[in-house]
């Protein structure tokens, strides 16, 4: 033992003997300035966004006489579900007076096949681009991405002509095809980035094991990519459900999706404005994306983090 070690031990003992001064976890105060600012801001912003929804809900539960009183923030004195029933099954758009239900089922018939078709194709696209690097893959990818930046309006009329020529104009099938094509760039990008982030060696191991293009896709890649499929489903369901432009251009009145029908109910110029029915109809239309978000919020965030960030 040297002198150095002895003096070190002595000074160490001196430090230990001194019990004053900070020790253990740093204390935190609940009502610190920082917390008040942080949570105060959050509460204000949340109220700001929730207020319109509140007004919609209460208005949709009031009768017309009560609405005419003008207190839009007051809760209903007498709760009535009449406007909801009317919005769903009796409101008139054009010649049809069977409410939003017709549009709802049209939207379902548009959204479900479009979502399945676009995701099925885009996931295989992304997988091929990420793992089976064929000649010209990069060029193909760039063209696809550029497609995402072309304004829809430019392509509306050419597509009308194409659909007319192949006899699909005005049919739900035509609209499903249009939605699938327009979903392709962003979905392919999403899937390609996700599959690229998967370990390359996994793919190689599967090839050594003898699995082919579809074998690897279906048995290795697909089971591993639930989060990104959830993201794609949410993007597509909300995107296609909320679509108005394609719906109004490529369908006929009896095949209008819910959004177009909602617009026709709310913006009808004849008769009295039935605010309660309008509010109920709007909530009904927005309900599907809302439910999708609530159910899949956690998976959505996880998938976005996994797939979209890496280039």
């Amino acid at each position: 033992m040297s002198d150095h070690a002895v003096s070190l031990a002595a000074s160490h003992a001196a430090i230990r003997a001194d019990a004053s001064g900070p020790s253990g976890p740093k204390p935190r105060h609940m009502f610190s300035r920082r917390n008040i600012f942080l949570y105060g801001t959050l509460v204000v912003v949340a109220l700001y966004y929730l207020l319109p929804l509140y007004v919609m809900v209460v208005t949709s539960l009031k009768g017309m006489p009560e609405i005419r009183l003008g207190n839009i923030f007051s809760p209903p004195m007498e709760i009535t579900f009449e406007p909801w029933v009317k919005a769903w099954s009796q409101a008139c758009t054009g010649l049809n007076c069977d409410g939003l239900s017709r549009g709802f089922w049209n939207s379902v018939r548009i959204t479900v096949p479009s979502v399945i078709l676009s995701i099925a194709i885009a996931s295989v696209n992304g997988y091929a681009l990420a793992n089976w690097r064929f000649k010209g893959a990069d060029t193909f990818f760039v063209i696809l991405i550029v497609g995402a930046f072309i304004p829809y309006q430019v392509m509306i009329y050419p597509i009308v002509i194409i659909l007319r020529e192949i006899g699909l104009y005005g049919s739900l099938t035509g609209l499903v095809i249009v939605h699938s094509i327009f979903g392709m760039p962003i979905l392919t990008l999403l899937f390609r980035n996700y599959f690229t982030s998967m370990p390359e060696e996994l793919f190689r191991a599967a090839r050594v094991d003898g699995a082919g293009f579809w074998g690897i896709y279906l048995r290795i890649m697909l089971p591993m990519s639930l989060p990104i499929f959830v993201v794609a489903i949410i993007l597509q369901v909300t995107g296609i459900w909320n679509d108005f432009l394609f719906g109004v251009v490529y369908t006929r009145p009896d095949t209008y999706p819910m959004t177009v029908q909602l617009n026709n109910i709310v913006n009808s110029v004849q008769g009295v404005k039935e605010y309660n029915v309008n509010m109920a109809a709007t909530i009904l239309t927005g309900l599907v994306p809302l439910i999708v978000y609530f159910i899949s919020g956690k998976l959505f965030v996880r998938g976005i983090a996994a797939g979209a960030v890496k280039g």
Binding site: E201, L202, R204, A205, A206, R207, V208, M224
Partner: protein, 365 residues
């Protein structure tokens, strides 16, 4: 046609990615049951070569034979190879059993045959209790064992290992290294093993192929490569701590000598290679463990005075840094020796154990 007893034969293999040449007219013959290690720094093309053998990369030129069959254009599954990857590459959604059987199920092999092969592999690798677990529930060592099992169940002639131990911690690495060696002795398969770790290479290989820049620098038994490296790159790459290099002049004559500064090393005991001794600038290399110290140094054909600069105790022995001919120079002493910084010492060595490299070409002289 490949010669008899040759398991893998690579003939004039080249691989280019665009303008970049990764492998250049490479030739390699691996005997039946041989354990070959491809060793080199990262980017030397060793993993690329392995992927070419596996059929995971399309080659630009040349041919590959496995078991006498030209497999140059074959799919990986038809080449009779099994491969173990650095990141294990286990299918995360499948249990260990399903991981092992995946290739067999794809190939459409009968159920009882699959069960028999899995049972055998699981027994050899001692992973029977893990069969129903998912890879996420396994430790690194267990995962790599399963990955080896996946190659094992395929009943292949050739095993390819792509840095299989690099992701493991030091302790596990040395354990699994021994297990791989035992496995090779038990199975007697041909194994081609890629690593950048020279200890793995030295301990496992029947022959080591040291690679650099897509070219095999030297292909030989580990001891030969260690003691008689063909060029300065090989000499510097193998050995830890690394070989000491001193630059100077070779003076030819009745007895050749190596001169640097005021030092003169007699080379009468040095075995020149073939053409050898012609004089000129050269590099003198000697491994730290071939340097004698103290009394023993005086008994050596060459001895000089030096001073201790830094002492690095390694536990089993101690590495001492000093200066010789103006260059950093290290040597090993037993761990019991205590040396102080600045202490004057005498060191010496036998030039017969040294390596001499031509400075312009870097080749052994």
């Amino acid at each position: 046609m490949a010669a008899n007893g040759t398991s893998v034969s690579i003939q004039d293999l080249s691989l280019n990615f665009g303008a970049v040449s990764v492998l250049q007219t490479l030739n390699l013959d691996v005997a039946e049951g041989e354990f070959i290690v491809l060793l080199g720094p990262s980017g030397c093309g060793k993993s690329t070569l392995l992927n070419c053998i596996a059929g995971l990369l399309d080659i630009s030129e040349g041919r590959i034979f496995i078991k006498g069959k030209n497999v140059t254009w074959e799919e990986p599954k038809d080449r009779g190879i099994g491969m173990v990857f650095q990141s294990y590459a286990l299918y995360p959604q499948m249990t260990v059993e399903k991981n092992l059987s995946f290739g067999l199920r794809v190939a459409g092999i009968a159920k009882d045959e699959i069960a028999r092969r899995i049972a055998r592999a699981a027994e050899i690798l001692q992973i029977e209790p893990l069969l129903q677990r998912k890879p996420a529930a396994l430790s690194g060592g267990q995962r790599q064992r399963v990955a080896i099992g996946r190659a094992l169940v395929r009943d292949v002639d050739v095993f390819l290992f792509d840095e299989p131990l690099s992701n493991l911690d030091a302790k596990l690495r040395s354990e699994l290294r021994v297990e791989i060696k035992l496995l090779h002795r038990k199975l007697q398969n041909t194994m081609i093993y890629v690593t950048h770790d020279q200890i793995e290479a030295m301990t496992l290989a029947d022959r080591i192929a040291v690679m650099k820049g897509g070219v095999i620098q030297q292909l030989d038994a580990p001891q030969t490569i260690y003691n008689r490296p063909v060029n300065r790159f090989v000499a510097g790459f193998l050995g830890s701590p690394a070989m000491n290099f001193v630059e100077g002049q070779l003076e030819a004559g009745a007895t050749a000598v190596f001169k640097t500064g005021d030092l003169t090393v007699p080379l009468d005991r040095y075995g020149f290679d073939g053409a050898g001794n012609k004089g000129g600038p050269c590099v003198f290399g000697i491994r730290p463990e071939h340097v004698a110290f103290g009394e023993a140094a005086n008994a050596m054909p060459f001895a000089a005075d030096a001073a201790v600069e830094i002492v690095e105790p390694m536990g089993s022995d101690t590495l001492v840094w000093t200066k010789l001919g103006g260059r950093n120079f290290s040597f090993r002493v037993e761990a019991e020796k205590t040396l102080r910084n600045g202490e004057p010492i005498r060191i010496g060595f036998d030039p017969a154990r040294a390596s001499l490299f031509d400075t312009p070409s870097g080749n052994r002289m």
